[in-house]
Structures are given as structure tokens and as C-alpha cells.
Symmetry: C2
């Protein structure tokens, strides 16, 4: 089996959907937030901690694993699941996002054949193609592989975006052709920037290629929020209802709510673990920074309403001490909390879909979350 | 109650003793290895991980906690146990070891009153005295406080060491006088370097002051192994049998065995967590370095005979990947393994004491451990 998406309910007033994804590593409910394990490890966390947070699928990065330890090492170790000792599903990205940001001379380095770039580790000249990306992902043996797409910067002209969408379609076809892992699903990626007709075109043409799921790409690249939400709407409108929809690289709590309302099923983002390492935590009253001296003797947990390990066991005073002294336990405790915060948010969104009250849920969430943010 | 040591059995052929320490935070068997939590955290580990490794007492550092977050913050947070959410015993060192290494001009900075030095964080001029050390430890509210002693370098002349021993005795008296925490035990420290008669003198005079336990100081300062083991023998010979004996800063597996054979009850050392962060692991066949390319596709655990979380769940190939890519989970997994290795060693030494076969145990351990080391 590759994967199967089961749509169980659409919310009455919006496009929000409750469903399940069946995989070879278990069945999980959507909407879902996927923690990011860039180098086959969700930074500083154990698999038990991820499971305690009710994580479902996790994401890992093809570019990073290609460089170290290399796809053959992982293949020889029995695939990514066995290598990292994780028995739940894994989605791998295509490596595209990383190599596009590493390509120095965009005009020269990005060719029809693929992308030339230098390794961030040793400067070595490397070349990634749609075929190579799929070949690596086949070896990694993730549950879900992503097509290799062009990730244009923002903004670009309509003409550039049109050509880019065409190229992404050609790359999607090339990748699909060489994809050769009967246990691995392959997702297509909808591009088109902020141009409604290009999103429509990209969407319809990608769907014609018949992928196992679809991703909305090209958001969170510098556009404002209304533009981003419109990109999501335009990217989803022509997707089939019986396939899963994945909004890549989005993990801000408000963006997750807005994405779910527009029909997104899965999200991923490094945000919860990255801000954790800098001492920041999500709370129902907005983001807080544990470096702040006002928490020095604060014996309360980060968030009284949170059910995570960190909030059940440690005070803000202690976490602040760990963060300000550079102790890795601090980032670990905040990562646990932040990931749980986003996963709990998706659990509540699922309930709101079942109860047909997601718009009230959004209003209530935003009142608390943005109220504090603006202080 | 402060603490109570119960001697339950002395091994037939050596000075090795099996016993228990009763504390306000539970009763634990000795010989015991104490993991080091310098800044109120055993680097990268959670309390559950420490308990899974069967840790008993942990050690925390007065100097580091004095600077950050400060003893008053910890006092206002309800003491060190509540601050760090640890319900088992804590021993705090005196801060002496750190400030002696920070004192630049030994002749000028080390005075009868105390030690002048500069903070390692911001270069601030600081002054630590026997009274101040005890006052800080009283506020930290650890189960066991250590006397502030002079830690002379190695080697020094007999005359210097004699004067130093006298000073350590005066400092021990001054500390004991101001010690004011009915729930906290206070340990004296035996010094005297490699001079048998000075160890005897230090031992007898320290015991006269009637501490709750005794520590052997001034080892692991550059002397060779035979000298170190003689220091331990000389430091213990005149200690009372009904008080616990603590060999400070010693954590090499062979040194633990030799210390136990000479009558030591507790040990501490940063070694297992420090070498973990550099990719090294203890095994029954000697220390190994996970950075080594030969482990790239090695699906075996670090040590087949080990019962730790790391060995039950992860391969050398995966840990090598984490270590070589700088992922903190790597240091965490190796810390779990290395601490468990030393704790399991003390568990086996306890059994050997009960079975009166500790010399055979040593022989067997060394054959495997040193055999591999010499390869």
C-alpha cells in the first residue's frame, strides 16, 4: 500500500475537513501538524517524546540526508525508519527548497535539467535533478516522497512564474516516471505564486498526472498574510477531495487555523523547534520569550492549560535558567512544549470541524492569542 | 534528619563496603556513582532518564549556581530540588575546585580569608570564603554540602602541602561554625597530597570536627595511577567506619573499581557526559569513538550487554550520524549510555562485595576492558 486518504467530514461553514491518512505505519487523523526532523532527528527529541506529544507523520529532509550520511548508508541500514528507529510515517521533502536557496547564480545554476549548487558543508559542486531527488527518496524509503519543483522567489513577474509552473510540471512528470518504490506515495506540488489563473493551471495539470496527494508550494516566501491565504485557496480549489492536501513549511498557529479553514490537511514547519532553541514558547496568550528577566522566579508552567511534559513538570524559572545558561535541556523542553502546542491546536481544530463551529473557534483563539501579542 | 550511612557488609578480601545512605529524599545503596548536574541539569538529560539509569544522588555545582541564577533565586523558588524538579538527593560541591582554577595569581589571590578570582562569565571580581560557600549551599538546600577546602596543584612541596592541610582544617572549622540548615549534611574533606603522614594528620583532625561524611580530595590532579590509589588508601585509613566516604571527581571505570576496593562509597565525575558530547562511549571492551567511519553502517548497539535506553533502541550507525552532524540527540543518547555504564558497574561491584569476589570481578573486568584499550 502507498497511502489512502479518507474524508470523514467537511465543516458546515468552511472548507475545513476532518479525515484520516492510512499508511504502512499506521492511520492518523487530519488536520495534522508534522514535526520536522531535518537530519533524521527532530532536534533534541526522542521518539517517545514525539509520541507523547501525539505526533503522527514526521518530515525529514532529502538534501541533508543526501549529504550526510548519504542515501546508500540509510538504504544499507534498512531505510530511514529502521535507521532512526521511528515506526510511524515519514514524509521526505524533495530537497528543492534547500538547493534553490543554495544556488548562487539563479540564471546560470537553475537549468531545465536540474539545479547546480554548492554543498553548505564543504562547498562541493552538486547537481540535483527531479530524477535524482526521487532516486534518493526511493532509497530513504519514506512513506511519502515529494516531487522536485522549482521554488521561485517572491515576487517574480507573471511571465517568470508561468514558465516556472510549466517547468515544475515537466519536472513532476520526470520524477513520476522514475519513481520506483511500491511502498512509497508520491505527492505533486501546486505552484503559481499569487496568480489565480496560474494556480488553477498548475493545480489542474498536476492533478492530471495523478499523484497520491498534493502539496501547495510557494507560500511563506515573503508575501503578506492575505496574499498567502489567497494562494492557499487558489491552490486547493481544483484539487480532488479524495486526496490529502499538504501546505508546506507553514507552522504559525494562526496560519494553521487559516489553512485548515481553507481545506488543508497537513502542515510542517521548523518554527516550533527553532524558536524553542532561542527561548521562545507558544502560549494561548501569544508567544513569550523565556529569556525575559520577569520569569526569573516564576514558578508557573509556560501555559497552565497545556498538557505537555514540560508544563506538567517544570517552571518558567527553571526553563529560563536553562535557556540563559545555554543548557540543551532548555531547548528540548521548549521544543516539546511548542510541538505539543501545534499538535493540540490541530486536535482542537478536528473537534471544531466535527462540531461545525470552526469559525467560532478561530475567533476565540485569535482574541486570546492576538490580544496578548499586541500588548 | 541529615543523612545516615549504614554499613551492611565489608568484602572478605578487601576494604570494599556495601551499605546504604538514608537521606530526606530516599535511601540508596553504595558504592554509588553520582552523575554531575553542574548548572542544576545533568547535561541534556531529563529526570526520568536519570531515574531509568538508576541514578541515586546527583551532584550540582555551587560556583555555577552562585553566578546563575544565584542562590537567592533558587531559595525563592523553594530550593534546588523544587527549582530543578528533582525529588532524589542532591550533593553540592563547595565551589572550591572551580575558584582555585580561576584564581590567576595563586600567591596573591589565595588568602587566609578566602579566594579572589574573576567570574568566567563576565570577568567580575569575586571572593569566595568558607563561610560564603556554606551560606550559598544552605540556600540551595542540597541534601549534602561540602566544606570549602584548598585544592593545591600537583605536585607541591611537603612544606606547602602541610600549610595547605592546616588551612583546609581552619576553613573546615569556619564553615562548620556557620552551617545552618537542619536538613543538610555537611562533609569534611581530607587533603594531604601524596604524603602519607599528611593524609593521616588531615584525616584524624578532620574527623575530630565530626562531620556527617568525609571526602577524599586532591586526587585526579595529574598524579599517576599508583600514586592516586595510595592517596585514596591513605585518605581512608583513619576514617570512621560508620560515615560515608566520597572520592571527588573520579569517574574512570578502572578508578571506580580501585576506589571501591579501597573502601570508597560514592564517586562523581563529568567524564561520562563530557566524553559523550565528543562522541565517545564506554563499552565492556574499552572506550570507543563513534566518530569513527567504521561505524557508518553498523546496526549493532554500542554494547550488546548494556541495558540502557540507547542500547535498547539505537544503532551505532544512527548515533554516529547524530554525532558527526552535531545533533544534540547524539550527546544525549551517549550520556544516557555512559552514565548507565558507570551506575551498572557500581551495581555489579555491590554484588561482588556481597559475594566476596571483588578481586575476581576486577580481574575479569580489566581483562576485557584493557585488552581492547591496548589494541
Amino acid at each position: 500500500m502507498k497511502i489512502r486518504y479518507n474524508l470523514l467530514k467537511t465543516e458546515k461553514n468552511t472548507q475545513a475537513r476532518f479525515g484520516t491518512i492510512q499508511t504502512n505505519h499506521g492511520t492518523y487523523e487530519t488536520p495534522m501538524f508534522m514535526p520536522v526532523g531535518t537530519r533524521a532527528t527532530v532536534k533534541s527529541l526522542s521518539k517517545e517524546e514525539l509520541k507523547d506529544e501525539h505526533a503522527g507523520i514526521i518530515l525529514s529532509n532529502t538534501y541533508h540526508l543526501w549529504l550526510r550520511p548519504g542515501p546508500d548508508v540509510i538504504k544499507n541500514c534498512g531505510g530511514l525508519h529502521k535507521f532512526m528507529s521511528w515506526d510511524q510515517p515519514i514524509l521526505t521533502d524533495s530537497g528543492g527548497f534547500q538547493v534553490f536557496s543554495l544556488a548562487k547564480n539563479k540564471r546560470k545554476d537553475i537549468t531545465e535539467e536540474g539545479v547546480h549548487f554548492k554543498s553548505h558543508i564543504d562547498g562541493q559542486n552538486l547537481f540535483l535533478t527531479p530524477e535524482k531527488s526521487i532516486e534518493i527518496q526511493n532509497k530513504l524509503d519514506s512513506d511519502i516522497a515529494m516531487s522536485f519543483d522549482e521554488c521561485p522567489p517572491y515576487p517574480v513577474t507573471y511571465e517568470y512564474m508561468k514558465k516556472s509552473v510549466e517547468r515544475t510540471l515537466r519536472w513532476a512528470k520526470r520524477g513520476k516516471k522514475v519513481h520506483n518504490n511500491p511502498n512509497q506515495a508520491l505527492f505533486g506540488i501546486v505552484q503559481g505564486g499569487e496568480f489565480t489563473d496560474l494556480r488553477e493551471y498548475s493545480c489542474k495539470e498536476t492533478v492530471k498526472l495523478d499523484f497520491d496527494g498534493y502539496s501547495i508550494g510557494g507560500t511563506s516566501v515573503g508575501e503578506d498574510k492575505p496574499t498567502m491565504y489567497k494562494m492557499v485557496e487558489d491552490g486547493i480549489r481544483y484539487l480532488p477531495k479524495d486526496k490529502v492536501r499538504y501546505l508546506m513549511g507553514v507552522g504559525d498557529p494562526i496560519d494553521i487555523i487559516e489553512g485548515v479553514i481553507r481545506g488543508v490537511d497537513i502542515f510542517d514547519c521548523v518554527l516550533p523547534t527553532r524558536i524553542a532553541r532561542h527561548g521562545q514558547a507558544f502560549t494561548r496568550g501569544g508567544k513569550i520569550n523565556l529569556n525575559n528577566a520577569k520569569y526569573k522566579e516564576d514558578l508557573n508552567p509556560i501555559d497552565n492549560s497545556c498538557d505537555c511534559y514540560t508544563c506538567k513538570n517544570y517552571s518558567k524559572a527553571y526553563i529560563r535558567h536553562l535557556i540563559t545558561t545555554g543548557e540543551t535541556l532548555g531547548g528540548r523542553l521548549l521544543s516539546i512544549h511548542n510541538i505539543r502546542f501545534l499538535i493540540k491546536l490541530t486536535e482542537e481544530l478536528r473537534e471544531a470541524i466535527k462540531n461545525d463551529n470552526i469559525l467560532e473557534y478561530r475567533k476565540e483563539f485569535l482574541t486570546k492569542y492576538e490580544g496578548k501579542q499586541k500588548k
